[in-house]
């Protein structure tokens, strides 16, 4: 029986790798990859806690279903925004997205 803490540590590694991509990559697609990795780490945490705690173990399951749905919607909208940005500025580098900075 694998203890829950090992799942939690594994999800922590995945989350910090995703956070690193989210903060420091220049290409917008890599930032999206980082966001998805963070969401997956959160999903692992939800399932691990729902296995570890007692009676209401289906709550974490339902939350993971919702998170997966919202992550799919987020990927679609994010890539659409990326396409619109690329069409206007001819680059996928989100450090160039400074139009709102004034």
């Amino acid at each position: 029986m694998i203890p829950v803490s090992h799942f939690l540590v594994m999800a922590a590694v995945l989350f910090s790798v995703g956070a690193l991509a989210c903060m420091s990559r220049r290409n917008a697609i890599s930032v999206l990859i980082g966001v998805e990795l963070m969401l997956n780490a959160v999903n692992i945490n939800f399932l691990a806690f729902s296995r570890a705690t007692g009676s209401d173990s289906e709550i974490g399951f339902v939350f993971v279903v919702f998170i997966i749905t919202i992550a799919a919607a987020e990927a679609a909208v994010g890539l659409a925004i990326l396409l619109a940005f690329y069409r206007q500025w001819k680059t996928a580098d989100i450090d160039r997205a400074r139009m709102l900075q004034g």
Binding site: F7, M10, A48, L79
Partner: protein
């Protein structure tokens, strides 16, 4: 990179079989878990650090496949299948389409990371230390409960989502509307404007 993902196809079937078989097979399942999570984290690191975006997308798909295996270890086969279908199937294809549509000719010469690399490394190291410490000291509330304590049945999902006394009906309908509006919004945003 294709070899990397095909390497992981082999042990993918074994975790569920190993966790279900009791007795001496559990040890093999545990060893496979650590190997499996190591592969997952390794492909995630590759997806974050590689220069070529195609390689990033492929290793990202391998990492999501690994997360599906972790879901199997946590006792929910349905979510593992959903993970493979939605993430490995749909989101990765979306990402590859995005990469192909926005290919930049100057991409080769540009730096992979922006100027915030070192602060970002510090912040993510902080995340890692904080989260893994708080996960490591987590005491299991009910020791000895196996993975079978979590329901692993698709038949239960419908009543949980749709019975009013469970309280998820409104969220379920809301997330359906959200998904529809997000997809329509994605089409509207990505559409070429005609002047």
């Amino acid at each position: 990179m294709a070899g990397c993902s095909s390497d992981e196809v082999g042990p993918s079937a074994s975790p569920s079989a190993a966790t279900r078989g009791g007795g001496g097979e559990v040890k093999i399942g545990e060893i496979l878990f650590y190997l499996w999570s190591f592969l997952t984290i390794g492909t995630a690191v590759a997806a974050v650090t590689l220069r070529n975006l195609y390689h990033c997308a492929l290793t990202f798909a391998a990492s999501l496949f690994g997360v599906a295996g972790i879901f199997l270890y946590l006792g929910s086969e349905f979510l593992a299948v959903v993970q493979v279908l939605i993430y490995v199937g749909a989101v990765t294809v979306l990402l590859i389409f995005g990469i192909m549509l926005t290919r930049n000719v100057m991409e080769k010469r540009q730096a992979v990371f922006n100027a915030l690399l070192w602060p970002a490394l510090g912040v993510s190291l902080f995340f890692f230390v904080f989260l893994s410490y708080s996960g490591w000291v987590w005491k299991e509330a009910s020791q000895g409960r196996g993975g079978e304590g979590l329901f692993s049945d698709v038949y239960l999902l419908g009543p949980i989502l749709l019975r009013p006394e469970k309280g998820f009906v409104f969220a379920f309908e809301l997330v359906s509307v959200l998904l529809l509006s997000a997809l329509i919004g994605a089409i509207v945003i990505a559409r070429k404007e005609e002047n």
